[in-house]
Symmetry: C2
Subunit: 253 residues, 2 copies
């Protein structure tokens, strides 16, 4: 019988640019708790703020396209300029939202630019510039501080909408020390029957699960996940980039 659990880490202070997130997490969770090597799920806004991936709207001069979109959508043209700057491609523009492919390759609403969860109304939060690198750096920082038999894994998350379903679920945007996909293709089920298309996005499932352990207004960006040892590795691994479909495999082009 397998078991899995997710526990929010309380008392994470507000994160400011330049903060050492590894140190903040170790202080809040305690080194003993981290020495057992859980997966540490971190809401991306904490990572972005620590890295200074922020834009002050008062400093943005919207261009022609942003002004047109702002007119059509009844939104702030400066915010739309930031969203366009973060996009490699605009897939859809309707119902007050832009669906874009970000410069990282993520397909999501508004290039992942977050106008809420900020500390003032002028500042918007971007996605981390290189989230897999952020995960690796935070992982190394935590491992250095806590020691232990096995370095914890680090999973950076964001909430994404879905094409045909209401609501958002958290997904993995950065990852170190855990495989993003669990590949059962070619293996057999309990009856010896082939598992035809079983390729599980375990990092996305872990991100979704982490979000169930916190309340959205609680200021709890960090959640510890236990019971995922079978997907964890000593190596950092290829990260969450592995989850992205190549553009030519996109079913909707």
């Amino acid at each position: 019988v397998a078991a899995f659990s997710a526990t929010a880490v309380g008392s994470i202070p507000p994160i400011l640019p330049g903060d050492d997130l590894a140190r903040v997490i170790v202080a809040a969770a305690g080194p003993e708790r981290l020495r057992s090597g859980p997966v540490i799920a971190i809401a991306h806004t904490a990572v972005s703020k620590a890295e200074g991936a922020l834009v002050e709207l008062s400093q943005v001069s919207p261009g022609e396209r942003a002004l047109e979109l702002a007119e059509a959508q009844g939104r702030d043209a400066r915010l739309l300029q930031v969203i366009l700057d973060e996009a490699s491609e605009v897939l859809r523009s309707e119902r007050g939202v832009l669906i874009t492919r970000t410069t990282h390759g993520f397909v999501c609403a508004n290039s992942g630019v977050d106008a809420s969860n900020s500390t003032d109304r002028d500042t918007v939060v971007l996605l981390p510039r290189r989230p897999d690198e952020s995960a690796r750096r935070i992982r190394a920082g935590i491992a250095r501080l806590v020691g232990g038999e096995r370095a914890p894994a680090v999973l950076i998350t964001d909430s994404f909408g879905r094409a045909w379903r209401h609501g958002q679920v958290d997904v993995a945007i950065g990852l170190a020390g855990m495989g993003a996909l669990d590949d059962w293709r070619g293996r057999t089920d309990a009856n010896g029957m082939p598992l035809l298309a079983t390729w599980i996005a375990v990092a996305d499932a872990a991100a979704a699960a982490a979000d169930l352990a916190r309340s959205k207004d609680s200021g709890e960006p960090v959640v510890l996940l236990d019971g995922l040892e079978r997907f964890q590795s000593a190596q950092d691994g290829p990260g969450a980039a592995e989850l992205l479909r190549a553009i030519e495999e996109d079913l909707f082009r």
Copy 2:
């Protein structure tokens, strides 16, 4: 500090048409364990088998369209006929997979028809005919058998692919006793800033989390989820149907 956990229920016997799934689950998990009112996540194949939502391929006569698709995709024309019978619309046909909208309104690969996880190579497993009704019936059956302060919730799951990301994650296809969506739109975050687009598909997150508590070859269709009380209700509620975007809201038409 919030916490969430998922524990697979061992020793569920192979399910056969006509089995009383409520009775099977109570016998395997024990009535005491269920009396606390967890969310009971059940892989849809167990529900479909109990309800006899199965097709024997040897009894299927493929029509013209199924024969054409079988030729193009190098697949069994009888299986393609079953997939077409379960579909209200074929969205894409490529790379050996049909993406369809099922008669229930789910968008998924191959209309959710499962050629693995069956007990023999001739039988394929369909989605339950009315998964929200199945969830309500199983919930009522379990509540009758165990009593307790609060009836457990029932969540029926399947593994779906995603438009722009590799791999599958489990989602909710049937639900009773739990809200599918947690709506924070219009509320504020820890800093008093508005949460602009925070509408969380908690039933899908719970489905994804449940899958992390089992191994795909373990024959463990049932997983108990604790810590979701804030989303549970005495009423059955509107079910997983609430998660489906209306066709006219589909961003990809």
